[in-house]
Symmetry: C2
Subunit: 334 residues, 2 copies
DNA sequence: AAACCAGACTAGAACGTTCTAGTGAAGATG
DNA sequence: CATCTTCACTAGAACGTTCTAGTCTGGTTT
């Protein structure tokens, strides 16, 4: 249990003042190359590491970003991992605070502010804009698009994601495409509106089946779709469905399977999120993939911009992970 | 952007010294009830919150625990959420650091030490014991049992978990129970040994099929089991299987399904982890459930004990989530 | 040769707490 | 009545950095 070396120890070892060691360690101008080298050697020899507490306390700029994430937020951990290099690239550090059933967003935010973060990155914020805007540090809403001019945001371009799905299906020959929406879940409205607009542009009849973010919501939606078939001619029924997210799509698929409807030969299904579930061998769900690296980079840039007074709202285009839940329109279904 | 109030502001407001405010805020003895009330009122009125940086820098005891978790570690987020209340109960605070493909365990640990944590809780440590033991703060290995006397640990009692699974199956009438192991994955050896011991106690023939932690490992194991059936009498074949974890069990189920083997009527299957996957509607996998609250509490207690020089190694008993992948031994299989 | 300048370096204050070592008053003990 | 003890409270140092406001040296300009 030896005490860790401090600036003063390094200064003594190198025969200079503490202030000069600080200058060298931070890499700011004000030291000659010769002493710079000598100081770095002394630091390395003693195994010196700057004390984050003292640094945070004293610096005018802490260069620390606070990240609030949800313990079971889909996609949150992917973003987390991408945030570390993204922040490092702009010279920022990151500290985390989890939100969950037993720990509110407010608590998570307060603990970060107590540590002196310069800005807050909130993944899928649950608080209303007013609460976020009232924080004493700039807030970046990540994964959840916002247009509030008091906030910044970095999120997936939901409209582009839905467009990818719909255009993929059209390319396979599908024209009657339905949408299972996300109910009141975050992003649901944006995705539904994008779907409706795409249908309108094509002169196609939209069919929105009410859904939700969970497996059971998808199951319910599937039963509703199956019930539609009764007494309708086949050429009015959808041949493809874009479901709000992978969880719901999984329930949807399960219910189709139980009813004996074959995927993709009778019905093509697209999910959203490209979660772990979508890639499972027995699922193989075509899904809209959000780009964690791009979103993380945009989020950190938004934070940096906000610290200079500029609020930015970035939409990151998603991509499509094509698997075997979608297939060309079969002759039987025409 | 008003500056946040400090101890000095509260002291001025209440007409006492900074030191006394510190005493009141920390709730330590040394102030009369009357002034205590007055100080708290002043603090509340100003919206005072202690500055974590100054506090960490100055205190002899930071009462801060550093948690290293894996961005895609199964079960890690469940533990995370449980750790907050568990730590609070013992008067500790928690700070997080993520490990991932692009951020090593060492980096995660160093950043926590720079912040002045008193002890490290490492979820599913990847570093060798020697590296962990060499850290300047006590290390608690969480979710990964350890017997190294230089470390502490809090993990699930793997033997008890396997016993739960095996006894559940025996209770259903199964006597020929196979095990798909986890290969080199953490915990695999402990689970396999427990299985073999249980078989020996019952005078039963063990059948260990080599597997691994992933879906594809489970698929491979299933093909191996199916191949065994060729040229063997039915009364020598297993009627139930305990698989290393849920991921592998999922692949295992998928392959059985493809081969037309019915679960649970022809073969009962038990998983391990009770992950989100196991509860999915079309999976409904009986699975050994680790207890996050109990593990988290044990981990924090281990940290507290380690700070007093006592290393503890706690094994937390799991429970069994019974679903429909297991059923009484059918007449056909006898 | 006086005046200026840039660069390298330093002394000491400051950040907001907690800790140490007290002070002063009121009551208890001999 | 002198001496201890306890309690409520305070002054000021300390934690390890960064920041401000310098000083000193040696070279360049007037």
């Amino acid at each position: 249990m030896v005490k860790r070396p401090t600036l003063a120890d390094v200064a003594a070892e190198a025969g200079v003042s503490r202030a000069l060691v600080s200058i060298v360690i931070r890499g700011v101008p004000g030291a000659s190359d010769a002493t710079r080298e000598r100081v770095l050697a002394a630091a390395a020899q003693l195994g010196y590491r700057p004390d984050a507490r003292a640094r945070l306390l004293r610096s005018s700029r802490s260069r620390l970003l606070g990240v609030v994430f949800d313990v079971d937020g889909p996609f949150h951990t992917e973003i987390l991992e991408a945030l570390y290099p993204a922040a490092a690239a702009l010279g920022y550090d990151i500290t985390l605070s989890a939100r969950g059933h037993r720990r509110s967003e407010g608590e998570a935010i307060r603990s970060l502010l107590d540590l002196g973060v310069e800005a807050l990155l909130v993944l899928g914020p649950a608080s209303p804009s007013d609460a976020l805007a009232a924080q004493p540090a700039p807030v970046v809403s990540v994964l959840e698009p916002h247009t509030d001019p008091r906030l910044s945001s970095a999120a997936t371009d939901e409209a582009a994601g839905i467009a990818l799905a719909v255009k993929h299906l059209r390319g396979l020959g599908h024209s009657r495409i339905a949408h299972v929406d996300g109910g009141t879940a975050a992003g649901s409205e944006a995705r539904r509106l994008a779907y409706e607009q795409l249908m309108a542009e094509d002169g196609a009849q939209p069919l929105v089946i009410p859904g939700g973010p969970n497996e059971t919501d998808g199951m319910k939606a599937a039963r509703e779709l199956l019930a539609l078939r009764v007494g309708r001619p086949a050429n009015e029924l959808p041949t493809a469905v874009v479901v709000f997210n992978d969880d719901a799509a999984l329930g949807f698929l399960h219910e189709l399977d139980a009813a004996g409807t074959a995927v993709p030969s009778e019905l093509s299904v697209v999910g959203y999120d490209d979660s772990r579930l979508a890639a499972l061998a027995h699922v193989q769900l075509t899904s809209v993939r959000q780009e964690p690296d791009a979103i993380a980079a945009a989020a950190v840039e938004a934070a940096a911009a906000a610290l200079e007074g500029r609020r930015t709202h970035t939409l990151v285009p998603p991509s499509l992970a094509v698997r075997s839940s979608t297939a060309p329109l079969a002759a039987v279904a025409r």
